[in-house]
């Protein structure tokens, strides 16, 4: 049963979802796209952000977005620490490809099981006055629990774009991704800049996690669905291009939403992975790759 209303609603939901996927993927676009660090554990840090938002919301009634912003510095510190271990153990020895990957896979597993031990497999959710409200424009309904993450996602993407293209540090991050050796010759320390950038990448997970639990209830194993999504977005967007990340996230959101509406929600997870496989097989450089 096909109807125009259904299609319109699915499209709008897809765009809203896509805006949120952009926030989740930004961290991967920086870490994987610019720094060449295969942080396969990024989605599990997003889950960590969700659970922090859950605790503060359930115990103290904090707004999830507020928690996400408040804890960004903590996540930033976590990112610095993680990069330091990664650098000292793998990157400096030139063993990052195989062992670095296994390292992050191990981290993913440890964090996921820790969350499982602490919170169990129950779905957790947050409460805020605007969650559950929605806006109606003609036949199209816009739920606030989707609209807020999308708007914040767009804002964060814009801010990161400005940071990377306008500020001195941001340009240094871009430079380190192009030629770390040349950067060293210019008198800058590439390790310090990569550490900072990786910290920012993990910091985005704090906010992304808060938005994730706002969209719907979460459970620890959910991060695995997002591994496919974030890598699909990062690769489709052309590895490290912030604008590309946003466009790719919107495409993925729309495709997923249409699939969920017309062939059932159980297929929507496979969509991202199928997109990923397709992009890798056909155009590994992505849409906006150089």
């Amino acid at each position: 049963m096909f109807s125009l209303d259904l299609l319109l609603n699915a499209l709008v939901a897809g765009i809203l979802l896509g805006g949120f996927y952009a926030v989740v993927s930004l961290g991967i676009s920086i870490a994987f796209g610019l720094l060449d660090i295969v942080n396969i554990a990024h989605p599990v840090f997003v889950m960590l952000g969700s659970y922090v938002a859950y605790i503060l919301n359930a115990q103290l009634g904090f707004d999830p977005v507020l928690t996400g912003v408040l804890f960004a510095p903590v996540f930033y510190g976590l990112g610095l620490l993680l990069y330091q271990i990664y650098y000292a153990s793998f990157e400096r020895r030139g063993a990052e490809s195989l062992r670095g990957l296994v390292f992050f896979f191990g981290i993913l597993f440890v964090v996921e099981v820790s969350l499982l031990l602490a919170f169990g497999v129950d779905y957790r959710l947050v409460e805020a006055s605007y969650i559950g409200e929605s806006l109606r424009i003609g036949p199209v309904g816009i739920a606030f629990r989707l609209l807020v993450p999308c708007l914040i996602g767009m804002a964060l993407t814009g801010a990161l774009y400005l940071f990377l293209s306008r500020t001195f540090l941001g340009r240094a991050v871009q430079a380190v991704s192009q030629d770390a050796f040349a950067l060293r010759l210019m008198g800058a320390n590439p390790v310090r800049i990569k550490r900072l950038a990786f910290g920012i990448a993990i910091a985005t997970a704090s906010l992304a996690g808060a938005l994730l639990i706002m969209i719907g209830p979460v459970e620890p194993a959910m991060n695995r669905e997002y591994i496919g999504r974030v890598f699909a977005v990062a690769v489709l967007g052309g590895m490290g291009s912030v604008g590309g990340t946003l466009v790719a996230a919107l495409i993925l959101g729309i495709v997923e939403s249409l699939t969920a509406t017309f062939s059932g929600p159980s297929w929507s997870v496979a969509v991202s992975f199928a997109v990923l496989l397709l992009v890798l097989a056909v155009r590994p450089a992505g849409l906006f790759g150089r």
Binding site: V102, F103, I107, L117, S266, A270, L280
Partner: protein, 316 residues
């Protein structure tokens, strides 16, 4: 270890297994031993691609589940015997391995790894939506009433898995010592250089992915009779991916004995932890041990032992 000693050890292990199967002690021990042996097969299979060739495969559950579901289809449709299930499961998983091998043509390193992870999720979704094999609810199967030998069917399956483990380890050992193994090692160290030196890299990678897939399918094929219940989340469990990668990493990934040591140690420890502590906590332990090993002892136990013997020899 010479070929003859290896053959003697292999036969001894098999005979010991058959005798053990007739002892008829508490069934739980066969149940637990089966899982450990299954990990020996999976870890050895993973290592042929991951350890020898340097391509990290996160998709172990995909191959394992494909073996298991092939067996399910054969049982449901024609009540095929276990031997047929093993052959078919291995063949189907082998075809998938061959296909994955072609992916390595375009994708190197990390992209290959992510693609294998993607593959597992896509396959899982397909099985969730496939009603013939029970969909998300899973399917219950009855074992044949009598076992060919052994006190009961569980003992029989234990011997089968022991046989598969011996086959897997012998295959890995043979590959390692042959020109194929040297070619794979060349790919691992520097694929471009290997290609330039005339190593047929694509053909060798196809051999590695296919053999690895076949062995993982073999490990999965007896699973339906083992548990008599198959559902997507249990056969596509991420634990298979973590364990089949952690065990060679902990044992030592450049020799055939590494995955065996890793699987026996880690597998047994997990079985003990599962009954004494809790299953979630034992998974946490695996993750922590994996991270610790990959940071502190990247060559695994085999590498540690080699380093110690070398140090003591140079001191003497």
């Amino acid at each position: 270890m010479t070929n003859r000693t290896f053959a003697v050890v292999a036969v001894t292990v098999l005979v010991a297994g058959v005798i053990t199967a007739r002892l008829g002690v508490n069934q739980y021990y066969y149940f637990a031993a089966y899982v450990v042996l299954q990990y020996v097969v999976l870890a050895t299979a993973w290592n042929i691609l991951g350890g020898y060739t340097g391509y990290v495969n996160f998709g172990t559950p995909a191959f394992f589940a494909l073996g298991a579901y092939t067996a399910v289809v054969l049982i449901k449709s024609i009540k095929a015997p276990l031997a047929a299930q093993l052959v078919a499961g291995a063949a189907v998983a082998g075809v998938l391995g061959f296909a994955i091998g072609y992916l390595t043509l375009r994708l190197r390193g990390v992209f290959f790894s992510i693609a294998t992870l993607a593959l597992a999720v896509v396959l899982q979704t397909m099985f969730i939506n496939w009603d013939y094999t029970g969909g998300a609810r899973g399917v219950t199967l009855a074992r044949p009433p009598v076992a060919p030998f052994g006190a009961s069917y569980v003992e029989f399956l234990f011997v089968v898995m022991l046989g598969l483990a011996v086959v897997a380890v012998a295959t890995a050992r043979w590959i390692e010592g042959s020109w194929i193994g040297r070619g794979l090692a060349a790919i691992r160290d520097n694929e471009e250089a290997a290609e330039c030196m005339g190593v047929p890299t694509l053909r060798l990678k196809l051999v590695a992915t296919t053999v690895s897939g076949v062995l993982m399918g073999l490990a999965g094929a007896p699973f339906p009779y083992y548990l008599t219940f198959v559902e997507p989340t249990s056969v596509f469990d991420l634990n298979y991916a973590v364990n089949s990668l952690a065990m060679p990493m902990i044992g030592g990934s450049t020799t055939w004995i590494g995955p065996v040591i890793g699987a026996v140690l880690l597998g047994t420890a997990q079985q003990i932890a599962m009954v004494t502590i809790s299953s979630a906590l034992n998974l946490l332990l695996v993750g922590l041990i994996l991270v610790a090993f990959v940071i502190l002892a990247p060559e695994g136990i085999v590498g540690l032992v080699q380093r110690l013997t070398r140090a003591s020899r140079s001191r003497a």
